[in-house]
Symmetry: C2
Amino acid sequence: MKQAAPGEFEIIRDYFADAPRGEGVVLGIGDDCALLEPPVGRQLATTVDTLVAGRHFPADADPALVAGRALRVNLSDLAAMNARPLWFTLALTLPESDREWLQGFADGLLQTAREYGISLVGGDTTKGPLTITIQVTGSVATPLRRDGAGPGDAVFVSGPLGAAAAALPVILGERPAAPALEAQAVNAYYHPEPQLALAEAIAGLASAALDISDGLLADLGHICARSGVDAELDMAKIPVASLARELAGPEALELAATGGDDYQLCFTVPEGKVEEAIDHCRQRGLTPVRIGTLVERGTGPAAGGRVRCHLEGEEWRARRPGYTHF
Amino acid sequence: MKQAAPGEFEIIRDYFADAPRGEGVVLGIGDDCALLEPPVGRQLATTVDTLVAGRHFPADADPALVAGRALRVNLSDLAAMNARPLWFTLALTLPESDREWLQGFADGLLQTAREYGISLVGGDTTKGPLTITIQVTGSVATPLRRDGAGPGDAVFVSGPLGAAAAALPVILGERPAAPALEAQAVNAYYHPEPQLALAEAIAGLASAALDISDGLLADLGHICARSGVDAELDMAKIPVASLARELAGPEALELAATGGDDYQLCFTVPEGKVEEAIDHCRQRGLTPVRIGTLVERGTGPAAGGRVRCHLEGEEWRARRPGYTHF
């Protein structure tokens, strides 16, 4: 006999009731609200992201991968503020309530939650076009913001760029790839690593930080805009992911500069603290790469901050801007 | 010249940057996360709700009304826990970025936010089928939960029921109504009043509470299930909204019992505290209505709690269950 499609309360009970319940969770799923005990003497950092099927992920993608990525991209925003993950909510809109899909989704979500020690404390399930909205909250002692950078600060990225953007055509089935490369592509796109350890290493030293979700140039532009500075980058220093080189060849640098979805951090450090920041990172086995320097805000019609790029003495221009949401 | 459709950053800057920014908001919209200072010695209550166009509201509805209602239904969940509103986030998925719609939506949202003293601290805008997800957070000193009720407790509702369910066919254009009735219908459906004052009046006295979003019988069933009791209701006591009587005639009681969207509170009070609870309400000009009593959990296949209804000595049965989400 075919099992009936589960209703809202069954979805919560069957798939999400065993969610990890950690520190500070007084009352989780099942009441009008979750009740939470915020950590004493800390600020909270909170962020929300929506992923729409067919736009941010293929509608027929493995639900466990989609769920894991959805949580990871939010954890990346916590990392960008140097916040320790505490709890999250899930608002899930589903075209139909399909047990197999839900089981995969819940498995991927809760496994990722356990990996990062974050508790699922509430949510909503509705019927409609497949859409996933996750809001994460963490605690912060020493926040990393976007608005503290100044002229002369060094610009760093936490690791290789371009892999996720190069992987996207493979993920979408638009470009064939050998099985080994395909596995790397799936990993690059679906398993971004929130840079929580790196954020901790640079806290109190970095003047600004954010995670690269829309592309290095666009995102560094946000630091510049919020901090009132411009940036100069040496494109020869950009750490281009080897997967990007393998999949995109001569386009790899372009992808590293403008492709989104890598979720590395971009951060700035005043010159006098660069050595200490690098030391802190090395002690944790981390190797951020210096790619440029901030400069005084130039004259001209720069509504946002301006990022100027050079490669071997010549000005370098991206052929396309960063990811646009509309 | 036609204005270009705004992109994500323009949406935030143009429509939501002037959001009220109240207590505890260290850093609002514009960074990777909002930074928040939780109130000392209080728990936090948080809840999230998604509204899908064409399912939870007509796609062509006035965006200001839709926005106001979306925030109000979430504030109702805070009221149901006796939480004071602090801050909220908005995840907005839009088929296209339409300035007129956005202006109306932002106006309705921010006006409601000011009315309830809650700060918009972050969000996400994405392209896709129109979907609104709001997460609200409040602070709680004396929480009202669903799981504290016991046999013998009195069952109350905070006010008239059935108006929103009776209004729905008018809202959807399925039923004509005279202008005066139509205005009442719009008000009943789009302007539910979060019962924050009532929650405060009964805090420390009520044994359980929730807001009636899916219909009285279904929602009281949740209190019964979580508290391990059954309920007996006198249907003659149910406060049926006059609008429900006017629009639905003999169906009004059915709508009051099973229709959703009124967002009144249903709560239970131990017999010895009933008088004090009613006094506290009266001092605030509030007149909750006693509709029944909780009883020992009966034998039989009651997976959830069971709500038995009587009317003039006869058993009364609803013809339809409460709102189902799938």
